[in-house]
Structure formats: structure tokens, C-alpha cells
Amino acid sequence: MYVEMKHITKTFDGFQASRDVNFGVEKGHLAALLGPSGSGKTTILRMIAGLDRPDSGDILINGARVNDLPGSKRGIGFVFQNYALFRYMTVADNIAFGLEVQKKSKGEIKSRVEELLELISMKDLGKRYPHQLSGGQRQRVAFARALAPNPQLLLLDEPFAAIDAKVRRELRTWLREMIERVGVTSIFVTHDQEEAMEVADMVIITNQGRVEQIGSPEEICLHPQTDFVKDFIDAERFEALMAIH
């Protein structure tokens, strides 16, 4: 297991966001945290990133306990829900920022930025500012920025939430391909079951701070283990989806 959550609990002002959360994600896999709003999925992601601290339990990355390690030292790339692109920096400067902070050489930064711009097919847009980009382009920049320092783990918080329904499907396929090509272990949060089932290798279903079920998309659809999962997953829709594939 590359990432492991062991007996994680977390309370905010009396609200229990995580209740004994346990799961693991294998190296190179793409996992989806799926659940309704307020089910605690974003909290889990933020705890892995070091943006929130669990009340108890262990977070392990690559076998080492990282609870007390600041987020910046965990080797993580994070794609924020609304991307949090630096508004006053160009696309290229955004992507370069993580490398600059690590005091990489100018030449190294330049070639890495070019490589990533190529990867996200935005070679000619490096000099643009975020407000001059479309929603889909912003997401791609956020993705490239997170990948720039070569993280071992990529976390994405509702990566498609801010994007038009029409373009969403296209981007989904794109992101899946990119992650496969780069080969980075990834976890993303979503409330959209179709998204989770289509993109992820494994799906972790959360509800009221608990993990309801973990498994491959097929497993979850064909053998839902709890009443909640049964209700939440629309099996018919999923079958139709599989038929298309």
C-alpha cells in the first residue's frame, strides 16, 4: 500500500467529519473518494495533504507515518477545487513556482515547464494569465502545476466541479490518460458516481464520516455491501454505462 489511513477520526466543532476511517491505495492506482455532500470525503483528502490534522489515527505514505510532517514535505501535488491558480502569474510562472521554491536551476525549471506545457497541450499559452483561460484550460494548468515538482502522490479535490457539463466528460478521459501516462498514485474526491466509476481503479464510498465500502467500480455496483451503497449507486445507470464501454 502506498497511502494508508488507519483509524482516522476528526471532529470539527462537535461535527464528526471522520469516524474510524481505514483504507489503502496501492502505488500507481487512481482512487476515487465518492460520497454525498458533507460525507467527509474532502476532509480525508485534506488530512492526507496536511491541510487538516486528524484527532487520532495514523496517516502513512510509502510506509512512513506523516501525521507530524507539514504538507509541503509529504511529496504531494494538490489540485484545488477552484484550482487556486496564482492570479498575478502567467501560466508558465504558475507551473514553475513549485520548482523555484525548491531552488531548482533556471535551465532545469525552463525545460520542465516546457515539458509540462507540452503534456497539457498548451505550448503556446505559457505567457497567458489565468483569467485569459477557459475553465478546462485552467484545470489543465492546475494539474501541470501540481505535477511540476514530481510528486509521488497527486490529490485532486472535486477536479471537475467548476467545469461545464459538456466539457467535463472530455476532461475526465484526458485526466485519466494523463495520470496513467505519468504513473503517479492519485486520489480524487467527487460526489458524482458516474465520474468515479468511469475514471477510478478503485472507489471508496463515504457516508457520514464513515467508509461504507471499498472496491473496484464493478465490485461496488454488482455487490453493494450496505443499504446506503445500494441506495446511493444507481446500478441500472452503471450497467448502461458499462454497455457503452
Binding site: F12, D13, S37, G38, T42, T43, G50, D52
Partner: protein, 283 residues
Amino acid sequence: MDAQIVKVKNKKGVRVIPGFGLSLGVTLAMLGCLVLIPLVSIFLSAAQLSFGDFIEVVTSRQVVSGYMVSLSCAFLAALVNAAFGTVLAWVLVRYDFPGKRLMDGLIELPFALPTAVAGISLTYLYSDQGWIGSLFDKIGIKIAYTRIGITIAMVFVGIPFVVRAVQPVLEKLDRQYEEAAMMLGASKLYTFFRVILPELFPALLAGFGLAFARGIGEYGSVVFIAGNIPYKTQIAPLLIMTKLEQYKYADATAIALVLLLLSFLLMFLINSIQIYMQKFSKA
């Protein structure tokens, strides 16, 4: 929904952004040394006064009349500003005309112009020999060295508060309300008072409160035009000044304390209105 939860989460989250300790340290140190410690002195000094002395000072005829002059003139000036400030904001937001930018820039003049300069200039203008004062003198109205003059000086310092409070709200106001009212056959005036004014009211009240507070404490622009006639045009801040010149520190402290508490009360009211406003606009 999700965004709100994240906000709650941040409350007890880890501090990811560096600089908390340094910012807190610098902020508290500077605020403490430059504002809070000196401010505490007034309470320390007041504590040395016996309660009887304190009451005697602040209820003496001269002091009570000073409070009354300050409060009544500041209130009146804030009312005048509320009316003209709303009209000014309306004209600046809703109409296009040559010189609009100049007018908009001019609103802030009372912020930029030193109060003493405003004070002597207004006094000159409204004295019975001044350009405007002489006109009123002919019909038997004296402005300088009366409460009318004090009110005019307070109107001068208070204008920007109301305009700058109302303007942004008016800019954001959805035209659909008005259009709906018009479609229902309401007249323009009726629409303004029944539809627009209630929307502006919280901002207007906040602007009114700020102008009122500024008027109560104002010294520079008022002191020249007031003329310092006991029981008639002596404002409270001037009384503090007079007591200080007579080295009556205890009396000055007592008068100041009451004025200070009045200001805090007013500030508390303004803050409450603004909090109410925010809740109201979110709902």
C-alpha cells in the same frame, strides 16, 4: 454546501500558511504599545477620581450643555448628510453627465483637507461679513458662532461617510426590483421610497452612524466656527481642551470618559447593524 463546510473546517485546521506567529506578534505589539496602553491610561486616571467627583464634573451645567451641543448638532448634521448623501450617491451611480468624475473625486475632499483649514475657511465664509454669512445676516440669521455654524462644519466633515456607504450598495442593487415595481404601475417617487430606500437603509444607517460619531468627536473644523460661547456653542471636545489648558486633568478625564463611552456605544451599534446587514443579505 461544500464550500461552507470547508470554511468551518479551516477554523480548526492546521495552519498551512506560514507567518501566523510573526503576524500575531507584530500586530499585538504595535496595537498594544501605540493604542491600547495609552488608552488604558484614561481608565486608570478616571479610577483615581471618586465617584462623587466624577458625577459632579460630568453633570455640571457647562459640561451637560457641551454634550448637548455636540450631540444635537452632530445628529442634525448626520441627518442632513443622510439626505444629501443619498441624493449624491444616486446621482453618481444612476446618471451620466459631464464632470461626473470630478464630482465623485470631490466627495473625498473633507477627508483630504486638514480640518483646521476647513474650519477657518468656513468661519470666514459664514461670518456676518463673509460671502454667504452676509446674505443670511440681511434676513437676520447668524450662522458663524451659533449652533447652525457648528452643524454646517459637521456636515462638511461627514459628507463622505454617507456617500461612500450608500454608493456601493446602490451600484449592486438589482434593477429588477424597480422594474417590477414600475411594471406594476408604481410611480418613480413611490418606487424610490417603497422599493429602493428599504434596500439602501442598512448602508444608509451605517453611514449615518459614522457621520454622527465623527461629528461628536470633531474638533478642528468646528472650533473656529463655534466661537466657544459657554452654554451656547461650547462643544464637548472643546471643554476637554479648556480643562487641559487650566491643568484640570481630572475634569478633562471625566468629560473624555463619557464622550469615549458614547463613541463606543455608537460604534457597537454600527457594528451590530453591519452584522445584521450581512446576515440579511446572505439569507
